[in-house]
């Protein structure tokens, strides 16, 4: 906790509250900015060299589509981490939202409603539920004054346990007719690009604008740099924090909307460890774990990088399957090294 009051001029990163036009550092080759991109390019080269099928449009679309869930969640997570917080519950939250949404849609389809209307309501419900969960986190953290780590560790258990209970330990499966109507949201494409990739791109764009071009974005960075100073600068810290968790909840809701049509089911293994993947994507993408500064573009690249690693491992058998996790670990550390901060 950066609670010691430091003078405003000492705020690291220079992202002090309310500054107009962002000051940019002198343009030089800065590995801090390009680390994740270089890492991704190297991986793409390695992948292509190992298996020519890697460099095909279909494979790239597969990888981008499956990255969409983690990627969208990571964009929300980026805001939370920049503000100096953390959310460990996103995987469980996604699983519970998926389960609750499927149950609700199945129940509604018995009523006199068209399948399209039921699916539309289900999607709205998922996003609203996510936003609600996020705000509840924010409320407990700001008003309840509980550490975000503890609040979300608690809900991590609660969300998954409730889902397991709802599913009776098995799987909750979407009604077949609804599944057919909902399917295109994951499997369909527009101009040759799958729908989830479009949503991912839009979310990234919106996230980037929100972080870098709005007062809210600057407040988030200011709070992460130094909460005390932000408070002195008349930033409504509690409200901004509440909103960052709400925003992350909405991102989880959107990711779930895309996830449900893929398998049409939710089970206690749904979204397992997504929280760690999302956090890793944010940090690999060059956001400081201590908060204060971060980038959406880096986060997006970080998320893609993580799924490209497992894609390459699946497309080759150079390395023993027992060592897959080790390769992933090495790449994460290497990329983090490429963009390490110098004192």
């Amino acid at each position: 906790m950066p609670s010691a009051p430091t003078p405003v001029t000492d705020t690291p990163g220079g992202a002090a509250a309310g500054g107009t036009g962002a000051r940019r550092p002198v343009r030089r080759f800065d590995p801090l900015l390009y680390g994740p991109f270089i890492g991704l390019l190297l991986l793409l080269a390695v992948g292509t060299a190992l298996n020519p099928d890697f460099a095909t449009w279909d494979n790239w679309m597969n990888v981008l589509t499956r990255t969409a869930f983690i990627g969208i969640i990571a964009i929300g997570m980026c805001f939370v981490i920049i503000s100096g917080g953390i959310d460990l519950s996103v995987g469980s939250m996604a699983a519970l939202i998926a389960g609750a949404t499927i149950l609700m849609m199945n129940a509604l389809s018995g009523l006199l409603l068209s399948s399209v209307a039921v699916v539309a309501l289900g999607m709205l419900f998922a996003v609203a539920l996510g936003g609600g969960f996020g705000l509840a986190h924010g409320y407990l953290i700001t008003r309840g004054q509980i550490e975000p780590f503890i609040v979300t560790l608690g809900t991590l258990g609660i969300f998954r346990a409730v889902l397991t209970w709802l599913a009776d330990g098995g799987a909750i499966t979407l009604d077949m007719t609804l599944s057919d109507v909902y399917g295109p949201v994951y499997y369909g494409s527009l101009l040759g690009i799958p729908i989830p990739v479009w949503i991912f791109a839009l979310a990234a764009l919106a996230g980037g604008l929100l972080l870098n071009r709005t007062a809210f974005g600057r407040y988030v960075q200011a709070i992460g740099s130094n909460e005390q100073v932000a408070r002195f600068a008349a930033v409504d810290v509690d409200r901004v924090k509440l909103l960052t968790y709400g925003l992350l909840g909405v991102c989880v809701g959107v990711a779930t909307v895309l996830y449900v049509p893929r398998l049409g089911s939710a089970s206690p293994t749904t979204g397992l460890l997504w929280e760690l993947e999302a956090i890793a994507a944010v940090i690999v993408g060059g956001t400081s774990f201590k908060g204060g500064a971060g980038r959406i573009a880096g986060t997006v690249v970080g998320a893609i990088l993580l799924s490209v690693i497992s894609n390459i491992l699946n497309l080759t058998s150079v390395i023993s399957v027992y060592l897959n996790a080790a390769v992933q670990g090495c790449v994460i550390i290497a990329v983090a090294f490429l963009q390490r901060r110098r004192p």
Partner: protein, 326 residues
């Protein structure tokens, strides 16, 4: 949730009845015949363990109804340390005299189980054997070798000993290794069956989907996918459907889940022709065998392997339990 409430109420009533009976008969010769059975199993974290919990509660319901002097306590744990703690509670607080345990890990639970046995508890170990077999009185398990051997034999027979196979594996565990070794041992006798590759998909639908997508990108001609688990087979089918691939002729799951058996029964998916049974029902059998033997004061055979069988359209009806969650 009314069914749930009913179940709980019934369990409470049953428990109360058993306690009342025990009290009423307290001091008489019959009291010695009362059996307090503890059941310690993993919590429902995926389809299979969900089935374990359901079948354990099913056994409790039926047996307590049939035998008023039997009291069964079911405890679920989400990890080996928690299971060890629960085991202590069962012995010291609930004062069980018999135990049916499905250990999380063989090594970690061997000592705690040995302690319980030392205090005079009759121990039946299910599925995963302890590292020191003297800590158990009886061992009941499914047949993991058959789990790998049966699909391999089925594939070899169906494709006349010539096919391109890709395989999914569960998690790196001895259980998975046993299955995999049995599978590859059969395939070695058929030189024209090629196992193109095998990757871990963690007994998880989503991971199976991703791994299959990548297999489909990498191999242009696949005849069979050995998904090695019904949950994983579900993800495999979705990935094949998405890629619109027609070269794959069979997807073989494993364990005999409700939906998979129904698919075989109805013949509703041409890719699903057979399955191998490895039902969580073995916990039910284990509890029943232990309880009935203890009520009669008998011992169980030291080892009892519940055979795995090939499920096809002809016999699928025997493996279909519509009420089970798995």
């Amino acid at each position: 949730m009314s069914a749930f409430a009913k179940l709980t109420r019934r369990a409470v009533l049953g428990g109360g009845l058993a306690a009342a009976t025990a009290l009423g008969l307290g001091g008489s010769a019959l009291a010695a015949d009362a059996v307090k059975l503890g059941v310690s199993i993993p919590a429902a974290t995926h389809g299979f363990t969900g089935g374990i919990v359901w079948w354990a509660n099913e056994a409790k319901k039926e047996l307590e109804k049939a035998h008023p002097n039997l009291k069964i306590t079911v405890k679920t744990a989400s990890g080996a340390p928690e299971q060890a703690n629960q085991l202590q509670d069962l012995v010291t607080v609930t004062k069980i005299d018999s135990l049916v345990i499905f250990p999380f890990e063989s090594a970690a639970l061997t000592q705690p189980v040995a302690q319980a046995k030392k205090k005079g508890v009759y121990v039946t170990v299910v599925d995963r054997g302890l590292t020191d077999p003297s800590a158990q009185d009886a061992y009941i398990a499914g047949d993991n070798t058959a789990f790998g051997r049966i699909p391999a034999e089925h594939i070899a027979k169906t494709f006349n000993g010539k096919a391109n196979v890709v395989a999914l594996r569960g998690m790196p565990t001895t259980l998975d290794n046993e299955r995999w070794d049995a599978f590859t041992a059969v395939m070695k006798q058929h030189p024209d069956i090629k196992i193109l590759d095998a990757k871990y998909a963690n007994w998880n639908r989503d991971d199976a989907f991703k791994v299959t997508q990548d297999f489909l990108t990498r191999f242009k001609d696949i005849d069979v996918v050995w998904a090695a688990d019904d949950d994983m087979a579900f993800g495999v089918l979705k990935a094949i459907e998405q890629a619109k691939r027609t070269d794959i002729k069979e997807v073989f799951g494993g364990a005999g889940s409700k939906t998979m058996v129904k698919t075989i029964l109805d013949g509703s998916n041409p890719l699903i022709r057979a399955d191998v049974s490895y039902s969580p029902k073995f916990i039910y059998d284990a509890i029943k065998m232990t309880a009935e033997a203890r009520l009669k004061g008998q011992a169980l055979p030291a080892t009892h392997i519940i055979p795995s069988a090939l499920i096809t359209k002809e016999n699928a009806k025997e493996f279909y339990f519509p009420d089970s969650p798995y």
